[in-house]
């Protein structure tokens, strides 16, 4: 009967180790949602911007320091943005007197289309125009809608990919407000 030599044993061990490593790498990688890429901006100071408002004076993010800011990137042509409109309006109505500002950042749109949408949908919170997409790039935007929650110190505490949920957004804002009050 043939015996397995030491050399062959080592070879089999190496092959088994390599196969195991590949399996572990693939299984951990495949378990992740490829569309959800962690933002390196979370925990860091939000990139500042000064953008013109659709109906009002230019708005500067750093001037809102001391308030919680919900920065929502949207466009009139984006159907998922329409889906979350009610949730954002609800959040604005609920928190505008509690030191929370919702800012809609209009992305890759025309002023006319954005204004028409704001008027017909009854958007009450301030909306600014990112005409050259520079702010979108600074925020590492990968699509819309995308929402960033900025705390009172100006740090990004969360990034929400896709339409926001009113309940989740409210509880998250409450947490940020509570953390800021401590």
């Amino acid at each position: 009967m043939r015996r397995i030599t030491r050399r062959r044993g080592i070879l089999l061990g190496v092959v088994a180790a390599v196969v195991s490593a590949v399996v572990v790498l693939l299984s951990t990688g495949l378990g992740k949602d490829p569309s959800v890429v962690a933002s390196p901006l979370v925990g860091r100071v939000a990139p500042d911007f000064t953008l013109s408002q659709l109906n009002g004076p230019p708005m500067t993010l750093s001037k809102l320091r001391g308030q919680v800011v919900v920065v929502n990137f949207w466009a009139s042509w984006c159907t998922e943005c329409h889906t979350e409109q009610a949730a954002l309006d609800q959040t604005w109505q609920q928190f505008q007197d509690s030191g929370v500002v919702v800012v809609g950042v209009n992305f890759e749109d025309t002023t006319g289309d954005a204004s028409d949408y704001v008027r017909t949908a009854g958007v009450a919170y301030p909306v600014v125009e990112d005409t050259d997409s520079r702010t979108a790039l600074a925020y590492g935007l990968r699509g819309i809608p995308e929402t960033f929650i900025v705390d009172k110190t100006g740090r990004i505490v969360d990034r929400i990919i896709g339409p926001v949920d009113a309940t989740k957004l409210s509880s998250e804002i409450n947490e940020v407000l509570l953390a800021g009050a401590r």
């Binding site: 062959r8 979108a136 590492g140 990968r142």
Partner: protein, 178 residues
């Protein structure tokens, strides 16, 4: 030396010659790439194209910023050009996009951390393959008649078996014509 022996010798040396040829071709290719690398200073448009080709378009699937017609990619190219005009290096420009998007914005994985394995693992695999091939070729050259050596060790002979082998050898010697 007869023709058959020369043919047999050539057959045993053939794998070695093939490996040498492969190494030679590789060396020539590397030399050509090295020489071509020293080209004239690229224009700013070429630099923009080079940097953009190394960045993923964040809102597209599997397209670089250089190849994407998306407005965001166009804006990224404009920003690269502006940063180059401002005197920023290619590394600094890439770093600014990584700061906002993370390493996933790079078309090639970074050379640090776990991603660095993508660079050194292929070299290790090739090295192991070449060493393995060299060992096999050495064995074939040493024993061309038997082909690849058997990896299985022969079990030690028992005393009875050893005696039987001795008897058989003695018989063979007796039968041998003087």
């Amino acid at each position: 030396m007869n023709a058959a022996a020369a043919k047999a010798r050539l057959r045993t040396k053939l794998p070695v010659l093939m490996v040498l040829l492969a190494v030679l071709v590789g060396a020539i290719t590397l030399a050509v790439v090295a020489v071509r690398g020293h080209q004239a200073q690229p224009s700013q448009a070429q630099q923009v194209q080079q940097i953009a080709a190394g960045l993923h378009c964040p809102i597209c699937k599997d397209l670089s910023v250089a190849d994407s017609p998306a407005p965001l990619a166009q804006q990224m190219r404009a920003e690269i050009a502006q940063k180059l005009r401002a005197g920023e290096s290619a590394d600094e420009i890439r770093a600014s996009f990584v700061a906002a998007y993370g390493d996933s914005v790079l078309m090639s994985p970074p050379r640090r951390g776990l991603s660095g394995a993508a660079y050194f693992l292929p070299a290790i695999v090739i090295l192991v393959g070449v060493l393995g091939a060299a060992m096999l070729i050495r064995r074939w050259v040493r024993s061309p008649e038997t082909g690849p050596a058997d990896d299985v060790e022969a079990a030690p002979l028992s005393a009875t078996q050893r005696r039987a082998v001795h008897r058989a050898l003695a018989r063979l010697r007796e039968e041998e014509p003087a």
